[in-house]
């Protein structure tokens, strides 16, 4: 059997598996190109099979979720949704078996994408304002958010790495703290008018800002920037002390900018999960309602 399944279910000895794994490590083979796109091929074939058989199978009076073909696709889709959800359980569980988490994730991604075809063809393209279409719409949202996740996972980590410049997160924060301490002592000679903005800058939480600020990376009310602006134009304090504070403020702003960029990339990397996971559970609830409703009003 030379099908893509032949490798999948082969037992394989541990040493061989380890060796294969080593080759994969060397090639930096991620979940997307796992096993030479095995799961991409499987789900692509599945989609093709569904699209072709949909056209070939003659269902009277027309295709919909209530024909034998529709029920078949629906059962397949519902089962797939539950299995895909199980990734959340699988990833928390360490195993040493053949089903590596990478394999599981690869299957999750590609089979999840094929669910777009399974689910949509299950509807027979009959959509309306009802629980059935709600389940379909939630499924599509979950899949699209997952698709977004794949895209950012494959593009953003490089940007994240460039931005951090070999610093850890805590080192970034520590840099800000250091500038704060220096600012605090450097600002002691300043007049009260000048200390107020510095104090505001010290009082600023680097993690402040809602989800909008996190995702956009824009902080228009940044106290550090405001202090810099005020002190640069101020004439009230001793010029030398003020110069020093302005210099420190500039340094703090740069450190803050790096931290905020870091937060922004991380937010972009994480936000999809806040759609993907809760909507998955909403989907499972809507799916249950959908299935029960079909049998209730059978």
């Amino acid at each position: 059997m030379a099908s893509p399944f032949s490798n999948l279910f082969r037992g394989g000895r541990r040493s061989k598996a380890t060796q294969t794994e080593r080759v994969r490590e060397r090639r930096h083979e991620g979940f997307l190109r796992y096993a030479n796109f095995r799961w991409a091929k499987i789900s692509g074939g599945l989609c093709l099979l569904i699209i072709v058989s949909y056209a070939m199978v003659d269902v009277t009076p027309r295709h919909n979720g209530g024909s034998w073909y529709g029920y078949t696709l629906g059962t397949l889709g519902a089962g797939l949704i539950l299995w895909l959800t199980a990734l959340g359980y699988r990833k928390r569980k360490m195993t040493s078996d053949y089903w590596s988490l990478k394999a599981w994730t690869s299957a999750h991604v590609y089979l999840g994408l094929s669910l777009m075809v399974i689910g949509t063809w299950h509807t027979g393209f009959q959509l309306g304002w009802n629980v059935h279409t709600l389940a379909w719409a939630l499924m599509m949202l979950v899949i699209l958010s997952g698709l977004y996740g794949i895209v950012v996972y494959s593009t953003l980590p490089a940007a994240l790495s460039n931005n951090r410049d070999e610093m850890t997160q805590m080192q970034m924060l520590e840099a800000i703290r250091a500038f704060d301490r220096q600012l605090h002592s450097a600002a002691q000679p300043l007049t009260p008018e000048d200390t107020a903005p510095v104090l505001a800058a010290l009082d600023e939480d680097p993690f402040a800002g809602g989800i909008g600020a996190r995702l956009s990376g824009r902080y228009p009310k940044c106290a550090t920037a405001a202090a810099l602006h005020t002190l640069a134009g101020s004439r009230s304090s001793d010029a030398e002390a003020r110069e020093k504070v302005v210099g420190l403020l500039k340094q703090k702003q740069a450190a803050l900018g790096r931290l905020r960029q870091h937060l922004r990339i991380r937010a972009l990397l994480e936000i999809w999960l806040y759609v993907h996971v809760p909507l998955t559970f909403a989907l499972i609830a809507a799916l249950s309602a959908h299935i029960i409703s079909v049998f209730f009003y059978w």
Binding site: P61, D180, E204, R214, F281, I284, S288, I292, F296, Y297
Partner: protein
């Protein structure tokens, strides 16, 4: 009286070290600048923030210096008098000044309580750097959404069902289970869209026929008469045993409490607004394909032939015919070409010839009737009001244009023999001969004298008066002539000569109004097709007994099975499910068809008639003619003007 400044510092091991320092003087200054007695390195504290004084060594006055105040016990103040024995907590920027009394001394405890800056605060790295801090938790969202979904789309609908469980009709308004509506209902059921329970009566029980017949009484109560009269065992035996995949599907349906053979299996709902879809062929073919053999095997012999698909498997038509003169109409037997004795003599070939007497006569009437160079089918055969069928031929309307029954003109009005009443014909002719003398010869006119001898045998008087004398008895000859070969009646009718006690009789004419009783044929739907395209035998038919109803072969020139199956080459195929011609519930009625599939009457608008059509109709007026509407017929009556 003295002030003691107390400072507490904490070692790395957490041990507290307390250092006391006596402060000189009665007035203690407090501020950020180094010159103050109490120097607080805090940007939130003014360079000269406040002075602390005491007059009696017990009560302490704290006064702010430069506008910026302080908090005492949480309240902002600029000046405060404090009893040091009672103690107080004051707040300057990020520092706390605690005033207390120990013995005779006033203790001033200064501590930094706020962090230097916000960023200096301890953070939970995992939380602060991720979205956890700014987004509600995924788990919270998951539960919230899931519960909302279940409430709105599961609990709500079931509750709606429960509340109207034993109610005949739901009140108007929103019912939560309409969220379960899988698709719009057909227009006939559109008013039920808020009342799911009108059909879905029991939960987890597939819609039963009982729910249908609750409203659909009458012919919908069970089945068509043909099916309702059959014993149940026979009906069951007729159904093809599902094989292979169908058997599997039936088994699955049974397992999920969804039995087969219910009304809704054919009459599918929730398939979109508009009329309900026509029943597909499969629901007839399930039984009727190969049914004959199955019924025979099950001990229910039947005359019904197998019918599985119009294009490939359909028995030949069995039109209603009179198999012998005067016989009762019965459906023709399969096999030989059927004969229909309708009592008329009518050679179609003669009438449809392109040349010859009939064509020439028709041509001579052009401009008076809708005739062309020869007779066409439509000249004699007229559709009925709805265009579905062709009216039985009527002598006065459809034949009399040529086959005149006129015998006399009185003052410009033509008298005709009464068609359909032989007795009246005999009476009219007898009266005619009795009341009218023969034409008087010219020699007998005038006033001049006549010579004798003209009464002699062979002379004009003798001839005339003998004729006058015998004229009434000539009626018998005329009557005989009209009923005999060459006479007006005999040409078209079978005549029975008078026998004892009977006068001349004409065989009854039985024109079958509808030949195909089991199927529905609509002439109007085929109006763009020439008659001869289907009635192919007409132009060669010599006998009126030839049944010219087209057979299956002619239909199959255009009509193929529902799925396009066919046995012969078809140019423009019309896919024809059983329901196109056959009506299940009421035999004899027009099969129901969704309006969208009905043939539109567009020909009248799109196909401009030729100029010739207008030319004729402008002269003759509308095509409809009334009974005995014969005022324009005089020229056609020349031969009879001459009288007997």
């Amino acid at each position: 009286m003295s002030f003691i400044l107390r400072r507490i510092s904490t070692t790395k091991t957490g041990k507290q070290i307390i250092r006391d320092q006596a402060l000189p003087g009665d007035a203690i200054t407090l501020g950020r600048e180094g010159g103050n007695i109490i120097h607080i390195a805090d940007l939130a504290v003014n360079p000269h923030h406040a002075t602390i004084t005491s007059t009696d060594g017990r009560h302490v006055r704290v006064q702010a210096q430069e506008g910026l105040g302080f908090d005492i016990n949480g309240r902002p103040e600029t000046v405060a008098d404090i009893d040091s024995a009672a103690g107080a907590e004051l707040r300057f920027g990020g520092h706390r000044l605690t005033i207390a009394r120990e013995g005779e001394a006033i203790i001033l405890l200064v501590e930094r309580i706020d962090e230097l800056s916000q960023s200096s605060k301890d953070v939970d790295e995992a939380k602060a750097f991720s979205l956890q801090g700014v987004m509600p938790g995924k788990r919270v969202g998951a539960w919230t959404f899931a519960i909302l979904m279940l409430l709105a789309f599961l609990v709500g609908p079931i509750w709606a069902w429960q509340s109207y469980k034993n109610v005949d009709e739901r009140p108007k308004g929103y019912h939560a289970d309409t969220a379960w509506l899988s698709g719009p209902l057909s227009s006939a059921h559109a008013n039920l869209k808020n009342d799911c329970q009108s059909c879905h009566v029991e939960p987890f029980v597939a819609v039963t026929d009982k729910a249908c017949v609750g409203c659909h009484t009458g012919e919908h109560k069970a089945m068509s008469t043909a099916h309702a009269n059959a014993p149940t065992a026979m009906l069951l035996a007729a159904r093809a045993p599902p094989g292979g995949f169908d058997k599997f599907l039936a088994g699955v349906g049974q397992a999920f409490n969804r039995p087969q053979g219910r009304c809704v299996e054919c009459h599918t709902e929730h398939e979109g607004a508009g009329p309900m879809a026509a029943t597909p062929q499969k629901f007839c073919a399930d039984c009727h394909e190969g049914m004959n053999g199955r019924l025979k095997a099950a001990g229910h012999p039947t005359a019904l032939a197998d019918a599985g698909d119009f294009g490939t498997s359909h028995p030949d038509f069995r039109p209603l015919v009179h198999a012998a003169p005067g016989a009762k109409p019965v459906r023709a037997a399969l096999g030989k070409p059927p004969l229909d004795y309708n009592g008329l003599k009518f050679p179609h070939d003669l009438h449809l010839q392109a040349a010859g007497g009939v064509a020439r006569m028709a041509a001579s009437f052009r401009g008076r009737y809708d005739f062309g160079k020869k007779l066409e089918c439509a000249n004699c055969h007229k559709p009925d009001a709805d265009g579905v069928r062709i009216k039985p031929v009527e002598m006065e309307r459809d034949c009399a244009m040529c086959h005149s029954l006129a015998f006399e003109t009185v003052g410009g009005v033509t008298r005709t023999l009464r068609h359909g009443e032989p007795g009246q014909v005999v009476a009219d002719l007898t009266a005619y001969y009795r009341s009218t003398p023969p034409a008087r010869p010219l020699q007998l006119g005038g006033m001049e004298r006549r010579r004798p001898g003209q009464y002699a045998e062979g002379q004009v008087y003798n001839i005339y008066f003998r004729e006058v004398a015998v004229r009434p008895s000539r009626a018998q000859d005329a009557v005989r002539a009209v009923f005999s070969k060459g006479g007006a009646c005999y040409d078209c009718h079978t005549i029975f000569a008078p026998t004892s006690g009977n006068d001349w009789r004409v065989m009854a004419v039985n024109q079958t109004p509808r030949f195909l009783q089991k199927g529905w044929f609509d002439h109007d739907a085929h109006r763009e097709t020439e008659c001869a395209d289907c009635h192919t035998a007409a132009s060669a038919s010599k006998q009126s007994t030839d049944l010219l109803v087209p057979g299956l072969r002619q239909c199959r020139d255009c009509h193929v099975g529902e799925g396009g199956a066919r046995l012969v080459k078809v140019e423009t195929a019309t896919e024809s499910p059983c329901a196109m011609c056959h009506e299940y519930h009421s035999d004899g009625g027009k099969p129901w068809m969704p309006p969208t599939q009905r043939k539109k009457k567009t020909a009248a608008i799109t196909n401009q008639p030729s100029r010739g059509t207008y030319a004729v109709s402008l002269i003759t007026g509308p095509a409809q003619r009334k009974l005995y509407d014969v005022t324009w017929r005089t020229p056609a009556l020349r031969p009879t003007d001459q009288g007997g």
